[in-house]
Subunit: 324 residues, 2 copies
């Protein structure tokens, strides 16, 4: 079995082996650029790790792992354009380095490239893996659409919010694991349990991301605190506060939404005061724990010895314990 | 064998059977919308027609035909956004009916949907068809990128121009035919000859489209005359004139490029005068004839009786004889 470090090294090596040096340069250079910005590579790592649970060789999982990482970066490229974000991983976004049209077209080429990579999967499982990837990719588009739809709504329910992050974030982690399991020769039952595990870890991960925006430490979070608050983003915390807050608290939130000229620190402090009053930190932490526990139960359904799951558990804990 | 009318009816029926009634509505409604705007459906028709050359049943070619039509409309959706076009087939474009972000995201969902449809192809040929489609889709992105790159250049050569339209237009017609041939059980050799035929017809078609923008009849062309001229589009005619024109003619063209406030009719007349002087109509017509003849030679390579090619020839002539 490969260690977490060995898995990551293999992922980085395979990504750096991807070549996009064909003309036209303006189409492919942005792909090389965004893939070079790094990131945790958590999704391709999960694919290799899931494969390695069932197979000592992880070679058969390389193609789907690369597909997933290229696809994930494609979604970042187009999402950054839609959000008009200037920075991605402390570097200028593709539409800033090049322009908006290049971001659209290079993103399209990345999505096609993801399928090109998937088509390199062992042909015995190709159709199954392709169908899973396609369903997942469409779900992620749906999640992004819901996220955009939520921007103009103040009545988003917690259930709607959880469904949105299931689609936007969790299904790709779940798909990454299931693809690896299929490549590694796992039974359909095993692959499905790993899929469920990925969903629950993914939901916990996104809720934690929401929480860290308010209560995290800038140094370890890797993003600026309060970014979601400043952009009125409908996080789990805000959705909860808009539902459970007093009329006064809701009105205060509404008036911040309308206010276009504000002191950032003041807005963040105001939201945080309301969140503190409503104990949103505790509520969100409980929700995270619930999904983490469900993930643990998913693992218990697997028909493999405990030691084959050590790297997977280590990876999930690294993903979820960013506060530390 | 099916007649051209029967093929078209089947295509329309299969497209109308596609259902995108799943939530979120803002993601899928634009897909239904753009597919409902019509168009000649030439690409899916070619897939069915190529299949029908080799197989009395065309059922196996439906999945790739739908993939190609959805993909083609995806390229129109994103191209219209990149070109900031207001109209598509006399209707407002998707980014006008909805907004730019919806156009990006719904386009992405269409591209994924194209792959979903392709995955429904008979599994014996799936990998081969998938690979052909993927290579073609990447080539088309490359063609679009070259087309955008050409906007800021005045030194585009005729060879570069022909390569751009090969990528942007011709390979999809070629791919449509080859997918149908593969689905119909044609040999690799037959499929390749049909691919070449599609390339040559596609090149002739695009050159004719360039010509009709200047010398066509509005009623039969279906677009406004002079649109390419007004937007300084590097068509074959303009590329030729920039290469073979006198210094005075080139300078006149350059000064029109710079001129932002002009009388449209005056600009069109000026370009046309230069084109007339240089006999660009004749040069372009000769080029079209050359590709049409090459296409004819491709057909002669096929190992099928003449009568099996009647519908294909009829379709190509309909495509190319729009002046009439």
């Amino acid at each position: 079995m490969f260690s977490y470090q060995e898995i990551l090294q293999r992922v980085e090596q395979e990504i750096s082996n991807l070549s996009f040096n064909t003309p036209p340069e303006n189409l492919f250079a942005p792909i090389t650029y965004i893939l070079s910005l790094g990131g945790k590579r958590i999704r391709p790592a999960l694919t290799l790790i899931a494969c390695n649970i069932y197979d000592e060789s992880i070679d058969s999982s390389i193609a789907p792992a690369l597909c997933i990482e290229v696809f994930h970066n494609f979604t970042l490229l187009h999402d950054d354009l839609m959000d008009q974000a200037d920075k991605r991983r402390n570097n200028p976004t593709v539409h800033k380095v090049w322009n908006e049209n290049t971001a659209i077209l290079s993103g399209d080429a990345m999505l096609i490239t993801a399928y090109r990579l998937m088509a390199g999967s062992p042909s015995t499982h190709l159709k199954e893996m392709l169908d899973l990837f396609t369903v997942t990719a469409l779900e992620i588009c749906g999640g992004q659409q819901y996220d955009m739809d939520f921007e103009s709504r103040t009545d988003v329910t917690e259930a709607e919010y959880l469904e949105m992050i299931r689609l936007k974030t969790a299904v790709l982690l779940a798909c990454s694991l299931k693809l690896g399991a299929i490549a590694g020769g796992a039974s359909a039952n095993e692959a499905d349990h790993l899929y469920q595990y990925g969903l629950h870890i993914g939901l916990a991960f996104q809720l934690q991301d929401d929480l860290l925006d308010v209560y995290g430490d800038t140094a370890t979070f890797g993003k600026n605190i309060g970014g979601d608050i400043l952009s009125n983003k409908k996080t789990f915390l805000l959705v909860y506060a808009l539902k459970h807050g007093s009329p006064e608290q809701k009105n205060e939130l509404y008036s911040w939404f309308e206010n276009k000229t504000f002191d950032p620190a003041e807005k963040i402090a105001a939201f945080r005061r309301i969140y503190d009053d409503l104990r949103v930190n505790e509520v969100t932490t409980n929700q995270i724990e619930k999904f983490y526990d469900l993930a643990g139960q998913d693992l218990q359904q697997l028909n493999v010895s405990e030691d084959r799951l050590s790297v997977l558990k280590e990876t999930a804990d690294l993903l979820l314990n960013r506060i530390s």
